[in-house]
Amino acid sequence: MDIFAQFFDVLPALQQGIWVAVQPHNLALAVIGVIVGLFVGALPGLGSVNGVAILLPFTFVINEATPDPASPMIFLAAIYYGAMYGGAISSITLGIPGASTAVATTFDGRPMALQGNADRALVTAAIASFVGGTIATLFFTVFAPALSSVALDFGNPEIFALMLLAFATFIGLGGDDIPKTMFSIFFGLLLATVGFDTISGEPRLIFFNEREQTAVLEALGSTDAASSVPIFNSVGWFSRGIQFLVLAIGVYGIGEMLWTINESRYKVTMTETKISASRIMRGIVGMKDAWKGTAIGSLLGFFVGILPAAGATPGSLMSYGVSKMTSRDPKSYGQGNPDGVAAPEAANNSASTGAMLPMMTLGIPGSPTTAVLLAGMVIWGLEPGPRLFEDRPEFVWPLIGSFYISNIVAVLVNLAFIPLFLAVLRMPFTILAPVIFVLSIIGTYAAYDNMYDVWLMVLFGLGAYMLRILDYPLAPAVLAVVLGGTAEQKLRQSLLLSDGDFAIFYSPFFDRDGKGQEWWIAPITTWIAVILIALPIVVWGIRKMRGQTAADV
């Protein structure tokens, strides 16, 4: 019951936070963020992560222009929420998910639209999203301060072990090809090491540096190689490191767009949707048929969202599955059952709030979108992690307050502007695509004032497109590039403490401070991570054995 007592303790802070969140400038940012998010979510091929990554550079300006430290985050969190609501619009009317988080919404949303009930599906999605988001925000308010106070005692080995766990869940539960997921994680972590080593202060991984240029020129037969270099400004390109946004915008602004163009070939067809105030009211009344899916999605979504590597997409798919499994009439799923729309929609909103929990309290994001949010917080001068709740309450509580407000704004804007969104979805992709490319390029330049980063971003985008065709998951790389710097620092500091002995991570009896104390959190976390990494191999082994047994019989 401690946790509930704590909830009542935080109520005054929450009240103050909500007060700050409804100040005109913050409310305006929430409204603009929600509208942008709804558009981004509704447009096929773009999800919350694309919107947040492409628009992150704009928040530097908000940070300078507003008095509240939480304002830029309120804007981005509103985009995140809006995108979760928006994904349903194209899932229902176009039959293609606006974002991966809305894939499960197509299962029943599209049949409802084809039966002439698109308006009802849209309203059900909006209200379920609102309920899911609000319940998750309540959970967040209860759990976040408690978790952050526990995490205050974490040292370097604990934090590294938690990061290991975050990556292990991608391998164990991500569902993608294992070696490709591993490649993606290692590559992301390695990109984070380019530039200067923060501990020794020496440069490293400066690609194609003068020494290599000279060697190449000499190999090509140049007699005067030394005087010809540098032909390529390697220091200019790599000494500042590979900026996180360069990879995130490259992957989500350029790579994903190219992939969507290739998949959709600029062609989508929209179902006829009739919408009016009375039809919206009819949809709201009809919510009584969808309460069960909403409840399942709201609860399950939040807890799945907390898990690293899980997030809103698996949260919504699992909620759809559980809702169908526990239904009295599972056969009606896939034929236009409102519960089948409500469950994934409540879940994706709930999970998006759940994913914020480890990001805000531990400094470890659970999804690519929260990874971008975390990177944004670092750029604005905040240090995500357990100390945030103690040191920066003027940031934390208005942000949590804004979660409540954004949800209300999102459901109202969503219901009020459904016709407008439908009109926007009719916009040809051949206008949208160049606009996204332009925003990606100008946004990257605005963030770093440097053309090298813009070039790198486009090159990463083209590379990401190729790898996407071959099924390489890129979300782990984006997460890894954000966590890479901290992961290395924590690993090296831990190994410095242990004189290079890895037992500090896996043994509770490793004597860290010479006092004979036992440390359990890091070893437990490490062993869970090891089990998760081994899980696919064990499952594969069991399947193989069963297969062989069957064959033997």
Binding site: P179, F183, F186, I199, N209, L258, N262, V438, I442, M466
Partner: protein
């Protein structure tokens, strides 16, 4: 698709091997440095060297690539089972025109300024790839960079590249001086008026 899977993993394995070698490299100015010396786990009692973490990450990449290649040979991964080509004719053409357009866009930024490059890219994309009417393509490719100019350079003072010197002197300096003197209301009006022009053109071209 299988061949592309194997070739890509092979190239990535080569790249990983280069990264492993590169991790063991010392500073360019240190002529006495012995390669790999900084990849140790506990160098002189001061913990891992600067090459330790990148070296083992690159090794992890290398092993993953070998695993991917083995899976591809054994036809265990979906791309290695797929009979579809890595890129069909459409995908190749799309990559050439869109990817090429993007590279062209970046080259133009340094020459003719960010906003002019945006105008050229938008026009190219809408007119030649989207086959939109000429009028709509021209209006959109003028209005979008104008909005971005007002937003970034004027309202937010996040200055973008201005291209060759004479372009900056002839166009951007007088334009900047003019718009910075205007009130925020005038700027909002500029957004609204150009937006209306764009909306009217779009409506007319739909008919």
């Amino acid at each position: 698709m299988r061949r592309a899977e194997i070739i890509t993993a092979f190239l990535l394995a080569l790249f990983s091997a280069y990264l492993m070698w590169k991790s063991g490299e010392g500073p360019e100015w240190d002529t006495e440095y012995v390669h790999w010396a900084n990849t140790g786990i506990n160098i002189d009692g001061s913990g891992p060297g600067k090459g330790f973490w990148p070296f083992y990450l690159a090794l992890g990449m290398f092993i993953s690539c070998i695993w991917i290649i083995i899976n591809a040979f054994r036809r265990l991964s979906p791309p290695s089972q797929s009979e579809e080509p890595f890129m069909d004719g459409y995908a190749k053409k799309m990559l050439l025109f869109v990817g090429g357009g993007l590279i062209g866009f970046l080259i133009l930024i340094d020459l003719i300024s960010m906003y002019a490059a945006i105008a050229v890219f938008m026009f190219y994309y809408m007119m030649f790839l989207g086959r939109h009417p000429l009028k709509l393509s021209i209006v959109t490719s003028l209005v979008v960079p104008f909005w971005l100019y007002l937003f970034f350079d004027i309202v937010m003072t996040k200055v973008q590249p201005k291209g060759l010197r004479w372009i900056e002197d002839a166009i951007y300096n007088p334009a900047g001086a003019f718009f910075r003197d205007q009130s925020l209301l005038t700027i909002v009006l500029c957004f609204a008026v150009t937006g209306a022009v764009l909306a009217i053109t779009a409506r007319a071209s739909r008919h």
